[in-house]
């Protein structure tokens, strides 16, 4: 079965000037079907860790095992494309077409089904650039269903979204995991983390994977963000 196993993995960026940084070594194992929330203050290295897991950055130490195919999404608003939402979703199948210059009708059908599944079938023919951030995010998550990689890494999938779209995206994330994928998503929205199967918290000099209830205890939230709260530091919602 596919799993994501990290063995003293050190993510970070190497730089000759002082701009480089290293995260503390992380040892953890994530099972298929889990939603893993990645939390921590800005600038602590959440994006760097996700890119390292996606294979976009080399690890600075340790190693990790993952399935060959890994899907990665940047934050909402980071992808720009002038062609239709349907075509963008169908591009999830790009790696399966070795030689043909076009996608197959089956790929387009899969994209249409994925859009319908997330209730955005009506956006299919609209240019992707003309959609709202929330609509774009749903289309990109539909592409994750089309791509069908066993590991999905999402950078701030809930940022910039209104509550209704945030709920829709969170449902979609849960659906991705329910089909046996590992979904790792960074977020500042702690209620999302509270509903996740595991929480990966990155502080200034520590990193820790634990169950949600443990990771979001008031003293842990204080250690992470330096604020005294019983709810989410961003929206005040209760965490249990």
């Amino acid at each position: 079965m596919s799993a994501l196993v990290l063995d003293a993995l050190v993510a970070g960026r190497r730089a000759r000037s002082g701009a480089g940084f290293r995260l503390p070594p992380l040892t953890a194992a994530f099972e298929a079907g889990q939603v893993v929330a990645l939390i921590g203050p800005n600038g602590v290295g959440k994006t760097t860790l996700l890119k390292t897991l996606a294979g976009l950055l080399p690890p600075l130490g340790g190693h990790f095992e993952r399935p060959r195919a890994v899907a990665w999404l940047p934050p909402p608003g980071a992808v720009s494309a002038g062609f239709s939402a349907l075509h963008l979703a169908a591009l999830g199948r790009a790696a399966r077409r070795r030689w043909s210059p076009g996608l197959t009708p089956g790929d387009v059908e899969a994209a249409r089904a994925a859009l319908a599944r997330l209730d955005v079938a009506d956006l299919a023919e609209r240019p992707f650039d003309r959609l709202s951030s929330g609509q774009q995010q749903l289309v990109l998550i539909a592409r994750l269903f089309v791509q069908d990689a066993p590991v999905c890494l999402l950078d701030e999938p809930l940022a910039l979204l209104d509550p209704a779209h945030a709920q829709a995206v969170e449902r979609a994330i849960r659906a991705l995991a329910a089909e046996g994928r590992i979904v790792v998503a960074s977020s500042h929205h702690l209620p999302f983390a509270a509903r996740a199967d595991r929480v990966l918290a990155i502080g200034l000099d520590w990193i820790e994977a634990s169950p949600a209830a443990q990771a979001l205890a008031p003293n842990r939230v204080r250690a992470l963000f330096g604020v005294e709260t019983t709810g989410c530091p961003c929206c005040g919602q209760a965490l249990s």
Binding site: A81, S84, A95, L103, V108
Partner: protein
């Protein structure tokens, strides 16, 4: 429904290509040495009337050169615009045009023959593009698109400086006019052999760009997206850049510096078929062929002295581009 939209997807590029062929027939059946279309077709596929054979033999190469160069410049321009997600990208992006001009001028200065000039232009263009890509590879800025644009400007500027030196060194009464005339662009130079020689690399480059198809769309999302979608972004991007540079170089080596086609045709095509590479590139090539054909016809329309194609392309292309831009921005 899907088969219908697939038909629609191919209908527009196909219609444009047929329009370009029809325009070629109209051009051959009007003007000097005119022959009726049916005579031209019989002459093309075997024995035709002598006047049609003569028209094909004398005007055919020039027509072929114009359409081939137009298609090459437009296809390369569309490729660059997709790869860089930048509507201002033109076939000259990597400095290829300036490099080809430098190569041709240098060969003319050294007194080379027509074939050698064409070869020098081709090599100069490709070399300049290679310098730009190599310089960009030295930098480490994001996914490298900005580095490529800047290094293209640098390589093009160096080639332009070299061209300036050649112009200064040239003999003012014999060599300078031929260099200047070459730089202004013309389709009249091409003999059948030279046109065919240039169309081989054009066809090769076009085949690669068309074969990349939807992968160009993935590359347009940036290297990180392309890699996370399971494509090998760098080699694919190099292939696409190389094909576009190959097409530009061979077009410039035949026609000299003809601007605007590579910028205008993709924009016009985008309005008709949208952004997808699989439709935009063939539609741009068809429109580019049509545009170059009409410009070439226009160059002979004002009396016995022909106007340089490069000048006409700019004089017609620039206002047309502006009109297109205004119309597109108002519709949006």
């Amino acid at each position: 429904m899907d088969s219908l939209s697939a038909v629609r997807a191919w209908a527009a590029p196909l219609a444009l290509a047929l329009l370009a062929v029809a325009a070629a027939a109209v051009v051959l059946s009007t003007g000097p040495l005119a022959a009726p279309p049916d005579a031209l077709i019989t002459a093309l596929f075997g024995e035709g009337p002598p006047d049609a054979e003569l028209a094909l033999a004398l005007r055919g190469p020039r027509l072929l050169a114009a359409m081939g160069c137009g298609a090459a410049l437009a296809g390369a321009g569309a490729g660059f615009q997709i790869l860089f997600r930048n509507p201002l990208a033109s076939p000259d992006l990597l400095g290829v045009t300036s490099g080809a001009g430098f190569g041709a001028a240098l060969a003319l200065l050294l007194g080379a023959g027509a074939v050698l000039v064409q070869g020098a232009a081709f090599a100069g263009g490709l070399a300049t593009g290679a310098v730009a890509v190599a310089c960009a590879a030295l930098t480490r800025s994001g996914d490298g698109r900005l580095a490529l644009i800047l290094c293209g400007i640098v390589a093009g500027a160096l080639a332009s400086a070299g061209l300036g030196l050649v112009v200064i060194a040239a003999e003012p009464y014999s060599q300078l006019p031929s260099i200047t005339y070459w730089l202004l662009g013309s389709f009249t130079r091409a003999t059948a052999g030279e046109a065919a020689l240039a169309l081989v690399p054009v066809g090769f480059g076009a085949a690669i760009l068309l074969g990349l198809g939807f992968r160009l769309d993935v590359l347009s999302l940036g290297d990180e997206q392309a890699r996370s979608l399971g494509l090998r972004a760098r080699p694919l991007r190099l292939m696409a850049l190389g094909s576009a540079a190959l097409m530009t170089s061979s077009a410039v080596s035949v026609a000299g510096i003809v601007g605007w086609i590579g910028l205008l045709a993709p924009h016009a095509a985008r309005r008709m078929v949208g952004e997808r590479a699989g439709r935009l590139i063939p539609a741009s090539m068809a429109l580019g062929a049509l545009f170059a054909l009409l410009i070439d016809r226009l160059s002979t329309a004002f009396g016995p002295a022909e106007l340089p194609v490069g000048l006409l392309a700019a004089a017609v292309g620039a206002p047309a581009f502006l009109a297109l831009f205004v119309a597109t921005s108002r519709r949006a």
